[in-house]
């Protein structure tokens, strides 16, 4: 959970990434954090696709590898954090993008930027219940198709709901 954290000094190469983003999308970044060697940027949902494409194509950044998509549920604030871990095979640097959405909201799908997002987003939909707009085939991946509920939410009990 994001409480008051010491804003550590961001090293130069990571500062460069933030500056490049700010030059084009000046209002996209809500919060930036650098701790334990990792850069985390919380961005506004409407900037997700343009920023993702920018990060993938920009010649100095080249984040061409989508490592992971994850969703974290915060029931007290009734919101989800969708976390995207990106990696550049060419420059070996990582960045983490976070998007906060309210429960029940949906978010745009990244499948047209990275094809790897296909199953990763299906998993998030299956286990946390977040819908991705524009996903080619959004259906459950682990649980049977007629399952009710989304187990990774914090209000779902560990031993399941008995019918």
């Amino acid at each position: 959970m994001n409480n008051q954290e010491e804003q550590k000094e961001i090293p130069e190469n990571y500062e460069k990434i933030v500056n490049k983003i700010n030059k084009i999308f000046s209002t996209a970044i809500i919060e930036k954090k650098f701790e334990r060697g990792e850069l985390t940027l919380t961005i506004k949902p409407q900037f997700l696709i343009p920023l993702a494409e920018f990060l993938k194509e920009e010649s100095d950044l080249k984040f061409n590898f989508l490592s992971d998509i994850c969703a974290v549920h915060f029931p007290k604030e009734k919101e989800f954090e969708v976390v995207y871990n990106l990696y550049s095979i060419i420059f070996h640097h990582r960045v983490r993008l976070k998007v906060k959405i309210k429960e029940g909201e949906s978010i745009t799908s990244l499948t047209r930027v990275w094809a790897a997002a296909n199953w990763l987003e299906r998993e998030v939909y299956d286990l946390s219940g977040i819908t991705f707009d524009g996903h080619p085939d959004l259906k459950r991946i682990f649980l049977p198709n007629d399952w009710k509920g989304h187990p990774l939410r914090k209000d779902y009990p560990l031993s399941g709901k008995e019918k």
């Binding site: 959970m1 409480n3 954290e5 701790e35 334990r36 060697g37 990792e38 985390t40 061409n64 590898f65 989508l66 490592s67 992971d68 994850c70 974290v72 549920h73 976390v83 871990n85 095979i89 070996h92 990582r94 983490r96 990275w114 094809a115 790897a116 296909n118 199953w119 990763l120 998993e123 286990l127 459950r140 991946i141 682990f142 649980l143 049977p144 187990p151 990774l152 779902y156 560990l158």
Partner: protein, 370 residues
Amino acid sequence: MRKTYLEHTKEIIMNMGPQHPSTHGVLRIKLWLDGETVVKSEPMIGYLHRGIEKLAEYRTYTQFMPITDRLDYVAAASNNLAWVQAVEKLMEIEVPRRADFIRVIITELMRIANHLVWLGTQANDIGAVTVLLYCFREREEILDIFEMFCGARLTLNAFRIGGLAHDIPVGFKEKVKNFIERFPKYIDDYERLLSENRIWLKRTKNVGIINAEEAINLGLSGPSLRASGVKWDIRKSNPYAVYDELEFDIPTGEVGDVYDRYKVRIEEMRQSIRIIKQALEQMPNGEIRAKVPRIIKPPPGEIYHSIEAPKGELGFYIVSDGSTMPYRVKIRAPSFVNLQALSKMIEGHLVADIVAIIGSIDIVLGEIDR
């Protein structure tokens, strides 16, 4: 014009699995076939889903470690390493050098064991039944080494947060040295049986090709990606443990077919032997565990740490809220993302090629379904 009979044929939908001798676990693939050619395919998973990520939120960091063994059960020590290093990164603990060297030795032995299982099952699927037995004979020796180290053969639970549980026993170094001296000859044996064999070449060359750009876009990682020509290995690009002090090469392929993936993994086995040899020589004396508090309570924050597991990039994303149990654990399983590439690879191929291609991606359902 008269309608010919051929226009009335349609594709048959055939199901492969979940019980099938060659799908390496409970994997179901729905195939749309035109004769024996695959027109479309859809892998369906979830038969081994055990809710491990949910379970992690109700276990302490130390209690979760044996559960990571069961993810990729063929190469259990890699999962342990990724978890333990992720927690250490979160808590900013520095592990003593001796422990790091021993971790490298165990992990590289595990890589060899994993590739032996892959080679045996892949050869068996294509029909060379003898190679399976030979690979498992060598794997027995490796499992004996593990049993000497931590008492278990398969699900090792080998490491602890901060280092190791206990130091290596007397005779361990000699046993490992003995093994790595004899092993390259065995790899030569497998190569002699398969690499130049006409039948093997015909079954594996130009089968299941995927080019580098598509592979990166699909999230493919590990030996399958390197076979397509991308020279990326996390041990070299973002080194962890003591890999930056050891010398080794990264084998790559050119075409990205089943044969290249085979060659890459065979070469990786040789490189692992090289790493183990150097690690044995350079291992310092010293402590094997850092000063770690009794109760593991990482500060609030998050971390994503990934390692080069034998199957690809294995990553753990941990969100901590300051208590003894993680708030959220996300496991980035390499086989899960690699399996997405399967549909692309088997398009246009025959049914007989499917088993060869599945074998070459090297999946294990434990980490796909978690």
